[in-house]
C-alpha cells in the first residue's frame, strides 16, 4: 500500500467512525458506516462496487434529484437482481431542458418518493461498496449535499470515475467528445445504450468499468483507481 493509500484509508475510516453513533433520523448513516469496507491496497478485481447514477433537473448545486438508479456488482459480473431505480418526488417546477433529456415529466416526478425515503435504501446498498460512475464527482457531490441536508452530516464516499480511467487509458484525445460515456463504450465494442434514465446510465457505466478493468493489469489496486477519481 502506498503512503497516499494509507492516508486516504485512515481519513475515510476516521470519518466513518464519526458516523458510528448517529441515531434517530441519521441512523442510516451508522448502518452505512458498519459495512465491510475493502482496503485500498487490495486488487480492484476483488472489490464490491455500486454503479450509481442520479438524474438531476439541472447542473447547478441547487439541482434537484429526479431519479436515482443503482446496481451492486463486482468484476465477475453485474447481477441485475440487485438493480434499483427510484423516481424522486419533487414539488418544484422542473427545468425544461432536463425534462426533455431525461423524459421524466413533472407529473411523474411529483408522484415519486421523497428522497428521505429512498436514501436509507441507497445507503444500505452502498455500504461497503465503491461508487462507480461516469463523471463520479456529480454523484459524490449529490450524495454529500443530500446527506448533509437530510442528516446534518456529509457522507464519506469512496468512488471510482470511469471517465478518469478513460482519460488514463486513452490519454491525449482531443476535446471532451472522445471521453463521453457513449463514445468510450464504443471503444470496447459495447452496444449503444439508448436509455437516458438513471438505471440505464448506471448499467452503462458498470459495463464500461468491466471493459476498462479487462484492459488494466490484474493486480491494479482499488486505491490506484480511486485516486484517479479524486480531483475530478
Amino acid at each position: 500500500m502506498t503512503g497516499g493509500d494509507w492516508l486516504a484509508g485512515w481519513r475515510f475510516a476516521r470519518r466513518l467512525k464519526r458516523l458510528a453513533n448517529a441515531d434517530g433520523d441519521a441512523r442510516p448513516l451508522a448502518d452505512y458506516a458498519k459495512g465491510a469496507w475493502p482496503v485500498r491496497g487490495s486488487p480492484a478485481r476483488e472489490a464490491p462496487f455500486l454503479a450509481l447514477d442520479f438524474e438531476l433537473d439541472g447542473l447547478g448545486t441547487g439541482a434537484h434529484v429526479l431519479q436515482a438508479g443503482w446496481l451492486p456488482f463486482d468484476a465477475g459480473g453485474i447481477p441485475l437482481a440487485g438493480a434499483e431505480a427510484r423516481d424522486i418526488r419533487s414539488g418544484k417546477t422542473l427545468d425544461d431542458a432536463a425534462v426533455t433529456v431525461h423524459g421524466i415529466g413533472e407529473e411523474r416526478a411529483r408522484k415519486g418518493e421523497p428522497l428521505a425515503e429512498v436514501m436509507p435504501e441507497l445507503l444500505r446498498a452502498l455500504s461497503g461498496r465503491i461508487v462507480i460512475a461516469h463523471g463520479a464527482s456529480i454523484e459524490r457531490d449529490v450524495l454529500l449535499r443530500t446527506t448533509r441536508k437530510l442528516y446534518g452530516m456529509a457522507l464519506p464516499v469512496r468512488s471510482i470515475c470511469t471517465l478518469a480511467i478513460e482519460r488514463k487509458l486513452h490519454p491525449g484525445l482531443v476535446g471532451s467528445e472522445p471521453y463521453r460515456l457513449a463514445t468510450a463504450r464504443s471503444r470496447y465494442n459495447l452496444p449503444p445504450h439508448g436509455q437516458h434514465d438513471a438505471l440505464g446510465d448506471a448499467l452503462a457505466a458498470a459495463e464500461l468499468f468491466l471493459a476498462q478493468l479487462s484492459r488494466l493489469p490484474a493486480d491494479t489496486s482499488l486505491g490506484s483507481l480511486e485516486r484517479l477519481a479524486v480531483g475530478h
Binding site: 453485474i78 465494442n189 459495447l190 452496444p191 436509455q195 459495463e207 468491466l210
Partner: protein, 632 residues
Amino acid sequence: MTPIAGPCTLRPMASEIAEITAFLGGTPPFDTLPVGEVSALARVVTVSYARAGDVVLESGTMNDRLYVVRSGSVELRLAGEELTARLGAGSCFAYPSLLRGGEVRNTTIALEDTLLYSLPAEHFHRLRKDAPSFGAHFADDEAQRIRHALKQQKLGRMPELDRTSLEELVRRGDPVSCPPDATIRDAVRVMRDRDVSTLAICTTAGLVGIFTDKDLRNRVVAGETPLDQPVSAVMTEGPRTLSSHASVAEAMAMMAAGGFRHIPLLDSAGNLISILSATDILAFMGSNAIDAGMAIAKAPTPEAFVAASKQIDEGFAAMVGSGFHAIHAMRFTSALGEAAHRRAAELAEAELGPPPVPYALVVFGSLAREEQLVGSDQDNGLVLSDEIDADGRAYFERLGGRISDLLNDAGFVYCKGGIMAKEAGQRLTLGDWQRRYEHWIDSPTEDAVLRATIFFDMRCVHGSQSLVRELRRAVIGKVAASPLFISYLARDALRSKVPLGIFRNLVLEKSDDGHKVFDAKAQAIMPVIDVARTLALAHGIEAVGTVERLRALAEGGKMAKGDSQSLEDAFLFVNELRIAHQAVQVKAGDRPDNAIEPASLSPLERDYLKDAFSVIRNALDSLRRNQAGGIA
C-alpha cells in the same frame, strides 16, 4: 417502504432495465415468451464482459448459466480443439451443458470484445418445461449447430467466401423503403408495386426496421393485425446490419447464428445501400443451378430464353469460386446446356407447329459426355423418323435452323465444323445416320476418323429417345466387331502430345505472347477422353461420360482398377486446374481458354501435374500396344 397512498402509486417499471428487456424481447427464443416473462427474466440477468481472446467457459468445468451474446462474438471449440461454431449477437450458448447437468464440453472463447448476458439454469429449465416454443428452440438448435459446424468446415474450403465482399453480391441503389408510420396496407402495396419481398423501414435519420413477406404472413395475417395499423407495429425492429465491405462468410455466419434471412447493408457512411437476402448468397454459391435451369426450362419467349442462358457463365464462375469440384461444375454446366438445347427445340416447335414425324435432338461431344465447360460452341443434330416426306424435311430445315439460331443467341455459338442442326448434313433420318456410321466404321481413313470421333459421344436431349437408342445400339455393336476401326481410333488418340520429358520436366510450347504454356484440353483432357472412348467402344460399353466409361472398363475387367482410378484422378485433376483457370477468365470478362502457364501453379500443383501427365502417357502407351496394332 410504506406504499404511497392513492389509487395509483406509480412506481412505474421501477427497477426494470428497458435496454435488457428490449434486447431479450427481440431475441429468439425469448421473443416467443409473454412480455411479463421477459421483464421478469431481465431482472435475473447477469451482465459480464469478455475481452477478445478471454476464455468464457472452459471445457471440463461445471456451468449453471445460459449465456446470450449481447454484442461481439464467441467461438465454441469442442474440447478446446476443433472449431464447432461461431456465434454473434443474439445467439445463446452453454445450454448443452445445462441439458446434461452442467458439464461443459465446449470451450468458449471471445472472438471479439464481447458483452454477455447470462441466466441461471433454473430459469432455463423452467421455461423449457413451461413454454413449448422456448424448449423447441433448443431442440432444433442442436441440429442447427451441427449443420452450422459442417457449414463452417466447408467454409474453410471456400476461401472465396471470405474474400468476396457483399458489395459484389447485391445491386447498389436505393432499397425500397417506407416510413414507420405508414399503414401496413400502404407498406404492402409498395412491396407489390415495386415487386420486393423485403421493405426497409426508414425515418429521415435512417433505418429503423425491416418488414418481409414472412412478417406479413406471421405477424399480419396469422397475427390478425388490422391493416390500418402502422407498419412499425409488425416490422422487425433494429435489424442487425453489416457493412457492405463485410465478407459473404460473415453474412452467412450472421444468418446462420441469428436464424434470419435478411441483412441490411450499410456503406461506410452508415447509409442503407441494399438488403442482402439468403437467396443472394445461394445464388452466389451456385446453388441456383436449379433456379437457372428452371429459368431456362420455363423461358416463355426467345428473349427470356437468351437472357436466362446468359446466366450459365456466371453460375459456373460462382460455383468454381466457391469451391465446387470440377466434376460438379461440369455436371452443372452440362445440365444447363442440356436444358438450353431442350428449350430451344420447344420454342422452335412452338413457333413452327408440332413436328410432322417423330424426331430427336441429339448432342455430341462434351455435352453428350456431361463434361461441358462454359464457352463451348454447339455440336448437335436431328435424328428423323424414316417415314419423313418432302414437306417434313422442309419443316425440319426450318426447325433445325431455328434451334441453332436460338442457341447461338444464347451463347452456344455456331459450330465452325458445321456439326449443328442448321446444316442439312446434321438432319438425317435414322437410316441415313446408320449408313453414315457404317461408312466410317467399315472404311476408315485417318482424316475421316479424326473428324468422326465426336459423333461417337452422343446423347438425346429432346424428342424421341427410342430413335437415338436404336441408332446407338447399332453403332456400338458394329464398332465392337471392327478391330480395324478401333485401331484407327487408337492411332488418332496417340496423335496428342503429352508435354512430359524423359526426366519428368515439362516440355512446353510458347504461346503467342512468349509465355510457356500447356494446352490443358488438347494435351491432357482429350487424350484421356480418347483413351476412354476407344476402349469403351472396343468393348461394347454404352456409357458416354469419360469417368463412367473408365469405371465401366474397370468393372468389366477390361482395365486394371488402379489404372482406371489413376486415369480418372488425372482427368479430374487437370479439369480442376482448367476450370479454375477459366473461372478467373470468366470473372475478368475474358473469353475462357485452355492455355495454362505452369508458372501460375504452386510447386505442389506442378508436381501433381507431372504425375497426371505420366499417368496419361502410360495409358496412351498401353493403348498403342493393345489397340493400335503396335503401330504409330
